[in-house]
C-alpha cells in the first residue's frame, strides 16, 4: 500500500545572526547552510493498518508526511502510495488520500462549514447519493450538525478539528494522513476523534498514518509504530515489541514508616547502577523507585528494599509507553 524507500530531504537554511546588525548583515551577505531534515527513511505500510509515526519535536515527522502527500518533493529516494508517486501526478494522487494537519485547516475560513463540504463534494466529484450517505455517517461519528451552518472562523478548536477530519474523509480516501489530529483538544473530544478514526479504519479498511505527541493516541489506535529521530528511522515495530525491547524500566512503589528512606536506601551503591538506570522519589511516606530491571532483577531489588526499611503496601509496576518514549527521546537510540 505505502512503500517508502531511502527517503531524504535537504533544506537550505538562511543563517541570520542575532539583532539588527545581524539582519543588516544577512541583507547584504546572506549565508545559508544545508540541513538534512529526513535522512534515509524506509518503511512499508500494508492496507488497513494504522501506523503511529512518532518522534520528538523537529524529528522530521511532518516533513515525511508532506513528502508522502505530495506537497514537498524529496531530495532523493522514493515513496509510492497505491502504486502512485505523489509528486508526479499530484491531481490524480490527492483524490485518493485524505489529509488533516492539526495546526492548519482546509476549511473555508469565512464561509459556513456546510459550504466547504459543498465545494469538496464538487472537486472530488462525489455524487449526490454517496454524499448524503457520507454526510450522515460523518455526522453520526463526529457530531457535526450542531455547528454545520456556522462560519468556520467562529468554531471552537475541537469543533474545527472534527470538521477538518470530516472534510478529509468526505471522498472515502484509501489512505488517511493525520498530522497531530488531537493537538490542543480536551479528553472528551480526543476520545471522540479516536473512536471515529478506529471506526473508519475498521469499516472501510482505510490505511491511516498518524503522527502525534499524545501517546494515548498511539496505544489506543496504532497497530505499529515507526519512530524517527533527527531524520533517521530509529524504531519500527509493534507497541509490544517496543515495550519488551526498551521497556525494562520498572516502577517500585511502597509506603514506609522509616525516617529518611531516600538516604537509607542506597540502591546506586548497592547495585552499581548507572546514572539513568535508577531514580528515587519520596512523597511523605510514599516512595517511588524507577529502575532498569535488565541491570538488577526485580527479586533482588525487592529483597534489598524489604531488608533495609520497614515496608507496608509494596507494588511493582510495568513501565508505561510514555516512560519508554521519554527515555528514548532524551538519550536517543543507539
Amino acid at each position: 500500500m505505502i512503500e517508502v524507500a531511502n527517503l531524504r530531504k535537504e533544506f537550505k537554511k538562511t543563517i541570520k545572526e542575532p539583532g539588527l546588525k545581524g539582519s543588516l548583515k544577512s541583507l547584504f551577505h546572506p549565508q545559508s547552510e544545508q540541513v538534512v531534515a529526513v535522512d534515509n527513511i524506509s518503511f512499508h505500510v500494508p492496507k488497513g493498518e494504522i501506523l503511529g509515526f512518532i518522534g520528538p519535536n523537529g524529528a522530521g515527522k511532518s516533513t515525511v508526511i508532506k513528502m508522502l502527500t505530495g506537497i514537498l518533493t524529496p531530495t532523493s529516494g522514493k515513496c509510492t502510495i497505491n502504486g502512485q508517486n505523489p509528486v508526479v501526478n499530484r491531481k490524480n494522487y490527492v483524490k485518493e488520500i485524505g489529509v488533516v494537519f492539526g495546526q492548519r485547516t482546509q476549511l473555508w475560513w469565512d464561509l459556513p462549514l456546510r459550504e466547504t463540504y459543498g465545494v469538496l463534494k464538487e472537486i472530488y466529484e462525489v455524487d449526490d447519493k454517496s454524499y448524503r450517505e457520507r454526510m450522515a455517517f460523518l455526522n453520526e461519528t463526529l457530531d457535526l450538525d450542531s455547528f454545520i451552518s456556522r462560519p468556520v472562523r467562529t468554531l471552537s478548536l475541537g469543533q474545527r478539528m472534527r470538521a477538518d477530519i470530516a472534510a478529509s474523509l468526505l471522498h472515502s480516501p484509501k489512505v488517511l494522513f493525520l498530522d497531530e489530529p488531537t493537538i490542543g483538544l480536551d479528553v472528551v473530544v480526543k476520545d471522540n476523534i479516536r473512536r471515529a478514526i478506529e471506526q473508519i479504519n475498521s469499516q472501510e479498511q482505510t490505511t491511516v498514518i498518524l503522527t502525534t505527541h499524545d501517546l494515548a493516541d498511539i496505544e489506543q489506535l496504532a497497530d505499529r509504530i515507526v519512530m524517527i529521530d533527527k531524520g533517521k528511522n530509529v524504531f519500527d515495530g509493534s507497541v509490544r515489541t517496543l515495550k519488551s525491547r526498551y521497556g525494562q524500566m520498572r516502577e517500585l512503589n511502597f509506603v514506609t514508616e522509616s525516617p529518611h528512606p531516600a538516604e537509607t536506601l542506597r540502591y546506586r551503591e548497592q547495585f552499581h547502577f548507572a546514572e539513568d538506570d535508577v531514580s528515587v522519589e519520596c512523597e511523605g511516606t510514599a516512595v517511588k523507585v524507577r529502575f532498569n530491571s535488565a541491570v538488577v532483577p526485580i527479586a533482588d531489588m525487592l529483597s534489598y528494599t524489604l531488608q533495609t526499611v520497614q515496608v507496608s503496601d509494596i507494588s511493582v509496576k510495568d513501565a508505561d509507553i510514555e516512560e519508554i518514549i521519554r527515555r528514548l527521546y532524551m538519550q536517543g537510540v543507539e
Partner: protein, 272 residues
C-alpha cells in the same frame, strides 16, 4: 467542459460569498475606488481648463471623461490579488492545504477571484457607463454610445484580467524565493498602474515610450480596453490589439505553469 464547470463553479460561488461576508469592507472598497477616479478626473480637468486649446494632447473634454472613468472600470476589473494571496500562503505555510486538492492550482485563484469581480462589476459598471454617456451627450450634443464597443470592451477587459492574473501569479511565485513580497508588490502595482495608462493616458507620453508600452503587456491591461470602448481602434487595429492581448495572456499563462512546476520543487513549508 461541463465537469470542469462543476468543479470550479463552487470557487466562483465562494468568491461571491466571501465578498459579501465583509459587506462594509466591500462597500468602502467600492467607495474608495470611486473617490480615487473622481480625484484623478478633477486633476486632469484642471489641467485641461488651464490650457487655452480645445484639446489636450488630442483629447477633447468628453473624451477625457470617458477615458478616466472607463480606466477606472477596467482597473478595478483587472486588479488581481493573486500575488498577495500566494505570498501570504507561502509565508504562513497554508499553501500546503491548497496543494492537497485535486484541482489546478492557478485555476482556483482565477475562479475564486472571478466570483468577487462579477459582483463588483455588476454594481459599478451600470451607473458609471450611464453617467459617462449622459455627460458625454450633454457636452457634445451627440449620442456616441455604441453597444458593440461596450461588448468589445468587456471581452477586452476579461483578456486584460487574465493577463494580469497570470502575471500576478508569476510574480507571487517570487515569494518562494524571497518569502515576503509586500514591498515588492507595491512597486509592481505602481509600475503597472503607470505603464498601463491608468494614471496618465499613454498618448500623453513621448512617442518612443508609448510604442514600448504598447507592445509590452502594460497597454493591454488598461489602455487597450478603453481605446476600444472609445472606438479609437477599428478594423485591422482592433484585431491587432486583441491579438496582442491574447498573446500576452497565453505567454503569462505558460510562464505561470512553468514557475508553478519549478517552485513546487523548491517549496519549503513554513511554520510546521
Amino acid at each position: 467542459m461541463k465537469r470542469r464547470f462543476r468543479i470550479y463553479y463552487p470557487f466562483v460561488n465562494a468568491g461571491m460569498q466571501q465578498v459579501t461576508t465583509y459587506r462594509v469592507d466591500w462597500i468602502f472598497y467600492l467607495l474608495g475606488n470611486v473617490v480615487h477616479s473622481l480625484v484623478s478626473f478633477f486633476i486632469w480637468q484642471a489641467v485641461f481648463l488651464s490650457g487655452s486649446e480645445e484639446t489636450l494632447n488630442g483629447f477633447t473634454m468628453p473624451q477625457m471623461i470617458v477615458y478616466f472613468f472607463l480606466i477606472f472600470i477596467s482597473d478595478t476589473m483587472i486588479t488581481s490579488d493573486a500575488s498577495m494571496m500566494i505570498a501570504e500562503e507561502v509565508r504562513d505555510g497554508s499553501i500546503a492545504m491548497r496543494m492537497l486538492r485535486p484541482v489546478g492550482y492557478n485555476a482556483t485563484f482565477l475562479f475564486f477571484e472571478l466570483g468577487g469581480k462579477l459582483l463588483t462589476q455588476i454594481v459599478l459598471i451600470v451607473p458609471v457607463v450611464i453617467g459617462v454617456e449622459i455627460s458625454r451627450f450633454v457636452l457634445s450634443g451627440v449620442v456616441q454610445f455604441s453597444v458593440l464597443n461596450l461588448l468589445l470592451f468587456f471581452v477586452s477587459t476579461i483578456l486584460a484580467y487574465l493577463i494580469n492574473l497570470f502575471f500576478s501569479i508569476c510574480f507571487g511565485f517570487l515569494a518562494f524565493v524571497i518569502k515576503h513580497i509586500w514591498g515588492t508588490n507595491i512597486m509592481k502595482n505602481c509600475i503597472v498602474s503607470f505603464c498601463s495608462g491608468a494614471m496618465v493616458p499613454l498618448s500623453f507620453m513621448p512617442d518612443a515610450l508609448k510604442t514600448v508600452f504598447m507592445l509590452l503587456p502594460f497597454a493591454s491591461l488598461n489602455y487597450t480596453p478603453v481605446m476600444i470602448y472609445m472606438g479609437v481602434y477599428q478594423g485591422a487595429d482592433l484585431l491587432f490589439y486583441f491579438g496582442l492581448q491574447i498573446f500576452w495572456a497565453l505567454f503569462f499563462w505558460a510562464l505561470s505553469k512553468l514557475l508553478a512546476m519549478v517552485s513546487a520543487k523548491h517549496l519549503t513549508v513554513q511554520g510546521g
